[in-house]
Symmetry: C2
Subunit: 285 residues, 2 copies
């Protein structure tokens, strides 16, 4: 059975005890509403560690006032069942008050990597992410922490955070998990109507088009971008960005880059979806 803990001090103790008993701790931080993407992180954690901690916390700090904090899906019971079934040893599901008690006033922020892509559209988002993840890292202690590459920029930022602050944390980015038709798994997919779900496929269709062009030797950043963007623009109600950037700096790529990140963020009705592929590295989406 998976142990469920609500209090930060209890979670810290369990992780300390695991290490004292010579276990390697694998951490899977989530906002709950678990799907196969999250479960793939748990599976990967089990390859790299032998005591698996998952955290379920819808972090208010990373939502802007006009975003979907209140309606973000909370599915605690099925999340716990899933964690139990996948062999998670401990679930940490704190209340917001225990993570942010009165007088809380500390922020962790990463500068350059947070500015492009999502940074232009969710300006305070990553400060909320880096702050809560710093707390989760500190509570867990030395561990290997798994993040999904669907949130590619988040993964790069958290790798930077751990490195810059000398945290004893190995940050691992895991491949995007997709439905059989290519849609990237996301807790927000459940917001989509049937027709929106259909139109959402234009993202993966655009990414595939760019991936195919790359495979055939096309190296023009503008061409690759346009190939992806045309598909997304045709179906989505609003497009925040379809960007082609250096996969490490997230900035304008070098002329002869042998890897390119294409990242997309776009809206269908009130639902915002993101997806990406690294050309020259990832398999066809």
């Amino acid at each position: 059975m998976t142990t469920v803990l609500r209090k930060p001090a209890e979670f810290r103790q369990v992780c300390d005890d695991a290490r004292a008993n010579s276990h390697r701790v694998g951490l899977v931080p989530t906002m709950g509403a678990l799907h196969e993407g999250h479960f793939s992180l748990i599976d990967e954690a089990k390859k790299r560690a032998d005591f698996i901690a998952a955290t379920l916390f819808v972090n208010p700090l990373q939502f802007a006032p006009d975003e979907d904090l209140d309606r973000y899906p909370r599915t605690l019971e099925s999340d716990l069942a899933g964690c139990s079934q996948r062999g998670v040893d401990v679930v940490f599901a704190p209340e917001p008050d225990s993570m942010y008690p009165a007088h809380f006033q500390t922020q962790v922020s990463v500068s350059e990597l947070t500015k492009p892509l999502e940074g232009g559209f969710r300006p305070a988002h990553f400060d909320g992410v880096t702050t809560v993840v710093a707390k989760l890292f500190n509570l867990t202690g030395p561990c290997t922490a798994m993040f999904g590459r669907k949130d590619y920029q988040q993964w790069k930022i958290l790798s930077r955070l751990a490195h810059d602050l000398d945290m004893p944390i190995e940050v691992v980015g895991c491949p995007i998990v997709r439905e059989s038709d290519g849609l990237a798994l996301s807790s927000r997919n459940r917001y989509l109507s049937a027709s929106e779900r259909e139109r959402a496929l234009s993202i993966v269709s655009g990414l595939r088009r760019a991936h195919d062009a790359w495979a055939e030797g096309d190296r023009s950043v503008e061409t690759l971008r346009t190939l992806a963007a045309e598909r997304v623009r045709a179906e989505f109600d609003a497009v925040d960005y379809v960007s082609v950037v250096d996969p490490d700096t997230l900035l304008t790529p070098a002329e002869s880059a042998n890897r390119l990140l294409i990242a997309v963020a776009a809206h269908l009705g009130t639902t915002r979806l993101i997806d990406n592929v690294v050309l020259g590295e990832d398999p066809r989406p």
Copy 2:
């Protein structure tokens, strides 16, 4: 003999090994130029821990461009001799490049507590302090960390930092150490000419005056402030502040407060000195 380490990874390993051998680690972070104030932190650390790590690092992040980074005293050899004599087990003295390598871009900041007092005069200072101390805490791992109360606001901020970010660090504030005539020890005292050294005593004279008035029952914040400020204003070339605040929030104190912090920052020539006393708690300075 005290071990001296330059590389962050080596320092982390030594601290990890000490804990693995059932030692409690005591941390004394400094900017070097050690004096009896620092040595008192080491002595206090030895009461609370049995493996003592001191860090010597003049942190460029916490100096503004017009401050004294370049001329800040560096006295590595005598610092090491002092650490050795006082029984420090390991000294960590990194180069700036190993603390802030290329692409470093993460900042840790505390909001409310950094705004009053020093915050009005050294606006980016505490962001530099909290960032480097977060790194030192993460490299050291679970420990008891000692800070001097001469930097009273810094001590409160770092306590907050460790608490807010759930760091496994016990932060301890240690009493100010003074010369026999009352001058608070500071690495910057060596900048003072003989006559400035004499005039500098007006700070402790002002603090004593307020302390005596408090002891005699005076509870007027404005009176206490004026008693201290008059002495400082008479001797110093410029006074940044003489403030009376709540010792915990650093904000305007309650009417019937039973503890008050009087904090002073003032300039003699190119030297800036700070000092403080907590009325209702500290002995007469």
